[in-house]
């Protein structure tokens, strides 16, 4: 089975401090991974690595069957299939519609039909009618939902979410949680970090626990089964998984 993303022998440092050290980690299609661990355990660093926004000092990274060579064109093509929503997402100044359409414009330029797609995405996150609002007038929960709509509208192969449910009111939590759990069935693999173990158990198909920048073997779980091996091997592929991964993982220069 082809993994969507694979890290091998990866080490990321901030100065002298080792932020992340992974022997091997693979992310497989159509799963929902919960990334847990205490503050400073390397969750955000791992998400940024998976988003190809950070380059490790050591180790190799594969996107599908293609090894990441960290060349600008290759990176751009790959990043168009992996989207990261930061813990405190940044919304560009201007309107909600301008933000949600940002990624679409980088791919297709400005197009008339984009408006309908934007409206639909906003409806999905419970913000129908917000298109013309200025982003500075939004509440924290609304801003996070706009950021989620901005990511979802791109239909990424992998959606990385850094603490997507932290500090949200009940309404926003319900909407976002429901949306996230439905994504793997639609062909979007999700990797989300969270502090809340109960939430992780409830939402995720797999739990990866980080501690001091390393994956805690005892806490790797796959659909409720405890794992003790050093590799994160996730469940055997289904027909749907094989189909979606093989079509989506065309060489980066030819698609995206």
């Amino acid at each position: 089975m082809i993994s969507l993303l694979r890290l091998a022998g990866v080490e990321k440092r901030y100065g002298e401090r080792v932020a992340l050290q992974l022997d091997e980690l693979a992310i497989f299609p159509d799963r929902l991974y919960a990334l847990t661990g205490p503050n400073g355990s390397g969750k955000s660093t791992l998400l940024n690595l998976l988003a190809l926004l950070l380059r490790p000092e050591r180790g190799r990274v594969w996107f599908g069957e293609e090894e990441v060579a960290w060349r600008p064109r290759q990176l751009q093509a790959m990043r168009r299939k992996v989207t990261l929503m930061h813990q405190a997402p940044y919304l560009f100044s201007g309107s909600v519609a301008g933000n949600v359409g940002f990624g679409l414009r980088t791919r297709h330029g400005a197009a008339d039909e984009m408006q309908a797609v934007i409206e639909q995405a906003l409806g999905t996150v419970g913000l129908a009618g917000f298109a013309d609002r200025n982003v500075r007038q939004l509440s924290g929960g609304e801003a996070r939902r706009v950021a989620l709509a901005r990511a979802l509208v791109l239909e990424p192969l992998v959606l990385l979410l850094d603490e997507p449910l932290a500090n949200l009111d009940e309404e926003s939590t319900g909407i976002i949680e429901r949306l996230i759990t439905g994504l793997p069935a639609q062909g979007t693999t999700v990797v989300m970090s969270t502090h809340d173990m109960e939430q992780a158990e409830r939402m995720a198909t797999d739990v990866i626990r980080l501690n001091d920048g390393r994956v805690s073997p005892a806490m790797r779980r796959d659909l409720g089964r405890e794992r003790s091996s050093d590799k994160v091997e996730i469940c055997p592929p289904t027909k749907k998984h094989e189909k979606s991964s093989s079509t989506a993982l065309a060489p980066s220069g030819l698609s995206g």
Partner: protein
């Protein structure tokens, strides 16, 4: 003073020729300085590279460079015996613009750099993760700090329009051609034409005041 105001009110040809020359030279200079300084400021601020600190130190030093030194350097290049003497540009508006770009470019770059440093560090990664190219992310960064960039350009314009060293050394204060407000004030006052110098001084103060008002609004405005 009365004569000076009279010169302004009856739109004296010499006064307004100097004002026009000042505005056009400063205008073109600041356009080129912005084309040079804004990308430099954005790039230096948004990238980590070896020698970044040294680059910022050089930019700061260039910002504090005396105008006569810039005039001297460009003069030595454009004079007949100079490296670029064959261009035949000395004592022309083009020569003045070259010197003024060297004066304003570092100012625009430094102010842009400061604006980016004060901006949100998530702008570039957000643009990249949404599929923008490196260049596209930099353009988006420029959009997000546009008020700071406008302030940088206005500061550059203010510096150019009020300086005398570069304009005098490279323009030569040729009446109706390279005579600017500042060079005219310096030369005409020394010749005893006090009213003429004062008239230009009043216009220059008005221009400087307008620039500062614009600068204030640009800095106060936030997206």
């Amino acid at each position: 003073m009365r004569t000076a105001i009279d010169l302004i009110l009856r739109l004296d040809q010499d006064v307004f020729a100097a004002v026009w020359t000042s505005l056009t030279v400063a205008g073109w200079s600041v356009i080129f300085a912005a084309l040079l300084g804004v990308p430099v400021g954005l790039s230096v601020a948004a990238h980590e590279f070896r020698g970044k600190r040294a680059t910022i130190t050089v930019l700061n030093t260039l910002m504090a460079m005396p105008t006569v030194v810039i005039g001297l350097i460009v003069y030595s290049l454009l004079s007949r015996q100079g490296l670029l003497g064959f261009w035949g540009l000395l004592f022309s508006r083009k020569a003045m613009i070259i010197g003024e770009v060297l004066l304003a470019g570092p100012i625009v770059a430094n102010y842009t750099l400061s604006a980016v440093k004060a901006a949100d560090f998530r702008i570039v990664p957000t643009a990249l993760t949404l599929g923008a190219s490196r260049l596209g992310a930099m353009v988006q960064l420029g959009r997000e700090v546009r008020f700071g960039v406008v302030a940088a350009v206005i500061a550059g314009f203010g510096r150019v329009i009020s300086e005398v060293g570069v304009a005098m050394m490279l323009g030569g204060n040729i009446r109706g051609f390279t005579r600017t407000m500042t060079t005219a004030i310096a030369v005409e006052t020394s010749k005893g034409e006090f009213a003429f110098g004062l008239a230009l001084g009043i216009v220059l103060i008005a221009v400087a005041f307008s620039i500062n008002v614009l600068f204030h609004f640009a800095q106060e405005s936030r997206p």
